[in-house]
Each structure stands twice: as C-alpha cells, then as structure tokens.
Symmetry: C2
Subunit: 361 residues, 2 copies
C-alpha cells in the first residue's frame, strides 16, 4: 500500500463538506470530522478517515438515520440514559459527554449511558473532552463480539476499550486501550503482510492459539468460532482471566447499564447497535485541583525518568506518543493510503465534490 | 509445607479474641477477622490469616496505631477524603465503603478516598459490601512499588488491584485482580518450589524477562531493580502498556486523589502508608434495578454456557471459583500451613490465649 501525506486543513475541509453534502448541519459536520481527524492525528489510522467508506455505506443503507433524534430514557442530577435511535455516533456521543461534564460541574460526577448507537470513533476523544474542562474523563463502548472468554472458543465480548484522561503537565495522561491483547486492525495488518501472529493474540475455531491471521479473520467474518484473546493472552497463567473480566466490566457500564444489546448480540456494520458510557469526575471534590494535578504530573514524570530496561532508551506515559504524532502530522500531513484516497474521491464524486479541487497545490 | 484444615468457626473465634486482646473493641475485632477470613474462604490464602504475623508485628512496632482516629480532610455530598492516620486498614476501610454506600443511597454515587493507611486485606471485600446493598462496588489500593513500567527496570507501581462487584443471579460478578501479570505471592510459591517462572511474569535487575524467582524476589527486597511485569507482560506486542496504564489509573484514584504517597515512595511493612479508593454506584439511577440485574445475569450465563475451547470443559465468570471455594471451606475447614499455625500459636501465647483451648476437638 502506498501512502501520501495530506494536509490536515485540506482534509478537514473536504471531510466536513462531505458530511454537509450528506445533510448534516455545519456544526454536526465539524464535530464528526473532528473526532475522525483526532484519530489520524494521534496515529490511530484504523479509526480515522479510513472509516469514511463505512459511514458512507451505513448512511446509504439507512442504518445511520440523519433525521432521528436520541431519546432521553431517564435522568437524575448525576446521570442520564439515552436511546441513540441510530443517530450518528460522534454527534450523540459529544452530546453525551457534554451532559456528563455539565452534571459533574454541578454535582462533582456525571454518568451518561446510551444504547442503540452507531460506532463513535475513538473512545479517547470523549475522555479528553472532560480533561479539557479540567476533569477526569472516562469513556467505554461495547462492540460486536470479537473476543473469546478465557478457555472459550466463541467470540462473546467486544474489544471493550476503556479510555481515561486526566489533566497533567506538560502532557495529559491519555489512556485509550482495548481490553483485548490487540484489536482487529492489528490482525488485518498481519494478514496483509502474511506474517505469523505472535503467540497469545488470537484463537482458531477450536480455541487454540493460532498464528494464521487470515484464518482467524475469515473465522470471525464467517462467525465460525475463535477470535481475539483478552488482555493477558490465552491462559490464566498469563492473566487472561483479568482481561476477560475487564471486558465484562465494560459490558456492564455500557450495554447493561444502558439497557442495550450486549456484545454477543451486537450486529456488524454501520449501525452496530452499540452502547456507550461517558463519565466525568471533577477531581476538585477531593481537594485543591492545582495540587492534585501537580501530583499527577510528578508521578508521570517519575515514571518517564525511571531507569530504562537494557536495550531501551525511553519509558512513555500514555498520551506522549499521540502528542508527538500530532505535532508530526500537523507539520507534515496525515499519511493516507491509496485505497482510502480512492474511496474518499469516489464518495466526494457521488456527492458532487471534486477531490482535486481540495487537494490540488 | 504441611496443611491442616481448621474449622472456620474456631478460627474466627481465635482470631477475634487475638484482636480483642490486642485492644480492639469487639466490633472492630469481628470486622478485621471477617475481612481476613473472607480471603481464606475465597481461596486467597496470601491475604488471609497467613498475614496475622505481619499485623502483629506492625502493631508491636507502633506502625499501626490503635489509639489513632482517621481524620476527615474534605467532604461533598458525593465524596470524602480521609487521612487514615495509621489506623488499622480493615476498620477504616469498612468505614470508608459504608460512607460511599451512604452517599450513593442519597446521590446515586459515592467516592471515598484515603491516605496514610495500612494494608486492608483483599480489595474485593469492600467492593462486595456495596453489592450486598444492591449497588456496584469498586475498590482500589496502591501499594509499595513492585511492578516495573513497560521497558523500565525499576519497580515504580504497586500491584494496583482493581475490585468490582455487581449483583447477579445466581452468583454476583466479583472481580478482584492485580493489574500486574501476577502478584508477589505467586513468585514466592515458585521460589519455594524452585520452579522456573513462566515467560512474561517478572524482570531481573536489567529489565529483562527472568525465570529465576529467588533472584527476582531478592532484587525486590534489596531494591536492586527489576520486578513484576504489568498485565500484558514484557512488551507492547503482548499489551504490557495496557496493564502499565491501568496501574497508573489505580494510582490516580488512590494516592493522587487522596493526596497520599505514590507507590514509588510507599514504604514496606505494617504501616505501608497506602491510599485507598472506595466507590459505590446505585445502578438504579440507570433504570429498573431488577431488569438491569437480570440482564447482567443473562450476560454472565451466556458467557459460562458459550462453547469451550478444545481441552477445556468450563468457562468461569468472576466470583464462581470463590463461591465454590467458600462452600468447600465452610464444610471442610480452611487449609492452614504449619508455619502459619506456629505463628498463630505464638501470637496467642504472647497475649495469654492458648491455641489448644480453641482447636482441641
């Protein structure tokens, strides 16, 4: 695959215009684009504009509904439950986290859960929204089942990401990780390279460790059994039951609290019928915010400055790599592969936008 | 090591009497004993009466202070921060979780954090307290540093356990796990057996994977470098950065929010100067409790009933093994090793209690 670097501002304008042409308002289009581009800027290509084709298809087939509105199911001063009603994941999610933040400003804590939603991009975007308001932000989503329970052979849980962002200097602590060993995207990369999967990543249809990425992916697509192992790998010896348990916790805070569809029953595709959880905690309820933030910054600095293992020259804290990636991409452009560029060109053409008008020098 | 099965009621009476002889009230003695015995009943020997000798030593040397009282540092309707002032960990922790539950009854959510505390036993005990009030309970603690950051070689984080309990039928979801691959206790077992450590468990003083348990333990004790790997093992390929990040999250919710000592600076021994976090969430804020609990029960049942990997005949959900262990121990007694029995006998003798009076047939 060939990659070209595309200027961030140009990409932003093109993607926003696509969503406006689709019928989203200017604000909605900016919001959706901002979520997608944060993934590309942070170096998480799998969750960025690479997914435009999926959103496009979902809107075309009506599984994302532009005319629907999320419905408030129940509410307390610290909480709210919504049925997202097939609305665009990013729009309803920004609303959800903003409401959690508003509740946290009044009560110290806010939790908003949603069911019936379509994919929302990266969980870390919404966690960061709370950190930008000087709060701890937490976000989780369930997804279609792709992970097998410890000693199982059928995918029953999603990748179950947990994102948490806490303000710190000079760089926020920004954690966004699947509670599986890897995500599907990693398997796809190995499949394309025809490289053997590392041990402890994925299981074949018998539940045994499997190095053949294509076989695992075909089994997942065909629902023939097998899937990705929980964080901790294939056995209790390496802690598989811990990642498996964290996956159940994500399911609890999303589908179970929101009254939504649990991962074994979530459909693939555009409107995946996912459930989300957004939490904001104003850490000022625990004392002086400047002091708490300074203590967090000290801990992170001590970790970064602690002695390195032989053969390694750096210890990262979470969010550092993403900040470095963003600086690079803002300066040098976002790397986009030729397949994605072709897709973007076709989507634009269908909506009366000429890709070359945007990206010509 | 030789194990004897001791009757639970007899053990309970003996341990309670020891704590009363030490100067704790009857209620305090019952509370401490209940926490310790839950570990033994659940099959977590390392955190049960096996630790009596450590508590004994800590009280003797004054690093646990029977005459001190926890001090409320600040409070809101949903939160409280305490300085535990060297009080006995179990007593102050039960108070902490009860306060979080009380706040959750009024507001839907409660969070209580504590600093300056001594070891409190198993985190899962306190999470279960909330579940017994039909709430989600969460509990975390930092500890002395024993885990190295990904690509580090100095222990900087604790084992950073996260416990979460959610009511379900027929068995609650009860999750209590270190966010490291294993705990120190596991290394000690391998050290005693002189068995090689599995790959990805622990690092030597250079930060490299090390199979020699005794060497790792000696390094930890001597603070010579190395330690246990985060959940996910020794490299980013297997997800080490995820366990490492979860460890930072535990540090955030304990030492950072409580204004306490972070793991790199926590001392070993009786009064470890730990920080705790207790959270209770009344899941009724998200809808009908019976329905939510039923959905959780269904998810857990579907996981247990899902197809088993070839060569395995059972998939557990978290809490099942512990319930089975408890049934066995209530019927057949708690297995206690001869070294622990000798310690218990000596502690009793020092306080004027005759072990044989309690355990004679």
């Amino acid at each position: 695959m060939v990659y070209s670097r595309l200027d961030v501002k140009k990409v932003r304008r093109y993607i926003e215009d696509i969503f406006q042409k689709r019928g989203f308002t200017e604000t909605e289009s900016k919001d959706i684009t901002d979520v997608l581009l944060m993934a590309d800027l942070y170096g998480i290509e799998s969750h960025g504009i690479h997914r435009m084709i999926r959103y496009h298809a979902a809107i075309e087939e009506g599984s994302i509904d532009l005319n629907a509105h999320p419905k408030l199911v129940c509410e307390t001063p610290i909480s709210a439950v919504f049925d997202a009603h097939k609305t665009m994941g990013q729009i309803v999610s920004k609303m959800g986290m903003n409401l959690a933040i508003e509740k946290a400003k009044k009560c110290g804590f806010g939790i908003v859960v949603m069911r019936g939603a379509s994919h929302y991009g990266i969980a870390g975007y919404y966690a960061k929204m709370a950190a930008e308001q000087d709060m701890i932000g937490i976000c989780m989503t369930n997804t279609e089942a792709i992970a097998i329970p410890t000693y199982g052979k059928k995918a029953m849980l999603g990748t179950s990401p947990i994102a948490l962002c806490m303000p710190a200097d000079p760089i926020d602590f920004w954690f966004d990780a699947a509670t599986t060993v890897v995500t599907r995207g990693k398997l796809e990369v190995y499949g394309k390279k025809e490289a053997p999967l590392p041990q402890g990543w994925a299981a074949d249809e018998t539940g045994a460790d499997c190095a053949d990425a294509s076989r695992v992916l075909q089994n997942i697509i065909g629902k023939l059994g097998g899937g990705i192992f929980p964080l901790g790998g294939c056995s209790e010896e390496s802690g598989s039951h811990k990642g498996y348990g964290l996956g159940i916790i994500v399911e609890l805070f999303t589908a179970i609290l929101a009254g939504g569809t649990t991962s074994p029953h979530v459909k693939n595709g555009g409107n995946a019928d996912c459930s989300f959880c957004f939490m904001a905690l104003d850490y000022g309820i625990c004392g002086d915010k400047a002091e708490i933030k300074a203590n967090m910054s000290t801990l992170l600095r001590e970790l970064r400055e602690s002695p390195k293992a032989d053969g390694h020259d750096r210890i990262y804290t979470h969010g550092e790599k993403e900040m470095e990636s963003m600086r690079d991409k803002l300066e040098n452009g976002i790397p986009v592969n030729d397949k994605t560029i072709a897709e973007l060109r076709a989507i634009g053409a269908q909506l009366g936008l000429d890709y070359d008008d945007y990206f010509a020098q």
